[in-house]
């Protein structure tokens, strides 16, 4: 009892760091269950942004003046902070991009130019977000390679038998999501990487949904690439990370080209600089990279022990409550799951559910969640998805459950 009160007080304190959580929507207090789309930002992140722009702002690299030196240092410190956050071996294995989508596009374009030729194969899975699907589809079509798609089971888990069948000598890379954004499945990526490596195949992990919800250790996973977005980990939009093992990044050609990433430019020929700048053409999102440090620090201050416990508590409570309702059909029943729940109410279109919940101040995501192949598999137009962050509360879930009852009543189920 005392412990519950302590946790509740703690959460109330945490919620104060997120000013937006105090908003009213349609005369109801906002219940924000769309954290898988984007998380909110604590004051600390905004303070870092404002401090940067109002006291330090400068372009980076090669400037000799104090501001340029300071900001270059802070930008490189941000890289080092991310390195230590995911335990990469070297900070030059951390490439700043504008988000997961760009990270994967970079990897798909640049890796396949170097390592994929006609007749080769790339393996992805049926549960990939479009951002980890289409870039490989395009890369394959450009290199006359074949895209192989690993099936998922009815419970929304990877079909590991099928996966093993796909591991032929033609496969040049496997791209798989750490956590499914539409089904909540946590994939056994360590095992997948082990088996892939046993066949000499490198693995790219789409970590967009994982990075904020459990400790990621790229050396322990031994993944070859890992991608994520700042805005899904309490940081600003416009910044993301591509982690890549040095041995691959070194061999891959640049992706974009322009300022800061060259050794020598002449009309005849251009030679490119070393990692990581080779992959960071132009002025990077310096302010966002620096503010991302504040997001990492915020997460580290809370600690993943707390975050994982808290989010498990929320998702388990919500699952229990949903089970007490009739006419709810869940999509995704993985044993190991993230704080993401996809469902439909009877034959009610997810759009209708979303509209009514919004009228009650409850923000859920509806639709295909950029995973059309998953929806095709289940032959549904989409789902209603709720996704939690540590700042959500049991009371919010109760309000959501009441909301579901009202949806059913209004839409006469």
């Amino acid at each position: 009892m005392d412990k519950t009160i302590a946790i509740t007080e703690n959460i109330q304190k945490i919620r104060q760091d997120f000013p937006i959580l105090g908003r009213n929507i349609n005369n109801h207090p906002l219940v924000y269950f769309d954290n898988a789309a984007t998380t909110h930002k604590p004051r600390q992140v905004l303070d870092a942004l404002v401090h940067f722009y109002s006291h330090e702002n400068s372009n980076i690299h090669r400037g000799v003046h104090t501001l340029a030196q300071e900001v270059t240092g802070k930008y490189e410190n941000a890289r080092e902070k991310i390195r230590s956050f995911i335990n990469a071996s070297y900070s030059h294995e951390i490439i700043f991009t504008k988000g997961t989508t760009e990270s994967i596009n970079l990897a798909a374009s640049s890796f396949s130019k170097r390592f994929v030729s006609s007749g080769d194969e790339i393996v992805i899975t049926e549960m990939e977000h479009h951002s980890n699907f289409i870039p490989w589809q395009i890369a394959c079509s450009e290199r006359s390679a074949t895209l192989k798609v690993c099936r998922i089971t009815d419970s929304g888990e990877l079909d590991l038998d099928h996966f093993r069948e796909l591991l032929t000598s033609k496969v040049k890379l496997i791209a798989v999501t750490h956590i499914s954004n539409s089904l909540g499945t946590v994939n056994p990526v360590k095992k997948i990487i082990e088996e892939a490596h046993a066949s000499g195949i490198p693995v790219l992990i789409d970590g967009a949904q994982a990075i904020a919800h459990s400790r990621v250790n790229v050396q322990e996973l031994d993944c070859d690439f890992y991608c994520f977005s700042g805005h899904k980990m309490y940081g600003p939009t416009g910044i993301g990370i591509l982690y890549g093992k040095e041995k691959y990044l070194n061999d891959m050609p640049p992706y974009q080209s322009g300022g800061s990433m060259i050794k020598k430019v002449t009309v005849k020929e251009t030679t490119f600089g070393d990692l990581p700048l080779k992959f960071e053409a132009g002025t990077p999102p310096v302010g966002d990279a620096i503010a991302l440090v504040a997001a990492v620090e915020y997460i580290e201050n809370l600690g993943f022990d707390f975050i994982v416990n808290r989010e498990n508590e929320l998702v388990n409570y919500a699952l229990d409550k949903l089970e007490t309702l009739s006419d709810i059909k869940m999509y995704g029943h993985a044993k190991h799951r993230a704080p993401v729940i996809s469902f439909l109410i009877d034959t009610i279109h997810p759009y209708d559910t979303g509209i009514i919940l919004d009228k009650l101040g409850i923000a859920v995501r509806t639709g295909h969640h950029c995973t059309q192949p998953v929806m095709d598999k289940y032959n549904i137009p989409g789902t209603v998805r709720v996704s939690f962050a540590f700042y959500n509360t049991i009371e919010e879930i109760d309000a959501f459950i009441i909301g579901i009852e009202r949806v059913k009543k209004i839409l006469k189920v």
Binding site: I348, H349, Y351, I356, L411
Partner: protein, 143 residues
């Protein structure tokens, strides 16, 4: 001029009807009632071409001309969207192409559903109206 007033007369009736309901809940319930009055598009017209782009839910829209007037039939897999298309269809259906093209749908705002009119609205109400007017145009509104 008289004909456009007819469209507006229907609009005024609808505004009157909705004005009897105070909160969003009752309005939505009425909208759902509307959805049941929609002349449903025949399955053969549920083609890719007749889909309205820009809706999260699917909306199929078909138009036929009878005696110089345009009649719409439609369907949607989402009931609120279906209610919206039924509402607009009740306003525009049965009028001449010219009347439809000239119509200004002020009633939607007055009813208190203007939120659905923003271009970024995933139900694509604006897109539906645009498509209805396009049908009218190609049905002879160019006179």
């Amino acid at each position: 001029m008289y004909t456009v007033e007819t469209i507006n007369k229907i609009q005024d009736e609808i505004v009157e009807e909705f004005s009897q309901y105070g909160d969003w809940l009752e309005k939505y319930e009425l909208l759902i009632e509307y959805s049941k009055t929609l002349p449903v598009i025949s399955e053969t017209f549920k083609t890719e071409e007749n889909l309205v782009a820009g809706c999260t839910s699917k909306v199929w829209l078909h138009a036929e001309v009878k005696d110089g007037n345009v009649f719409y039939s439609a369907d949607s897999d989402a009931i609120i969207t279906k209610g919206l298309v039924a509402l607009v269809s009740r306003i525009l259906s049965g009028h001449t192409p010219r009347e439809i093209m000239d119509a200004e749908l002020y009633s939607i705002k007055k009813i208190g559903l203007s939120e659905h009119l923003t271009p970024n609205r995933a139900n694509g109400l604006q897109a539906m109206i645009r498509k209805m007017k396009e049908y009218a145009k190609s049905a002879g509104g160019n006179d």
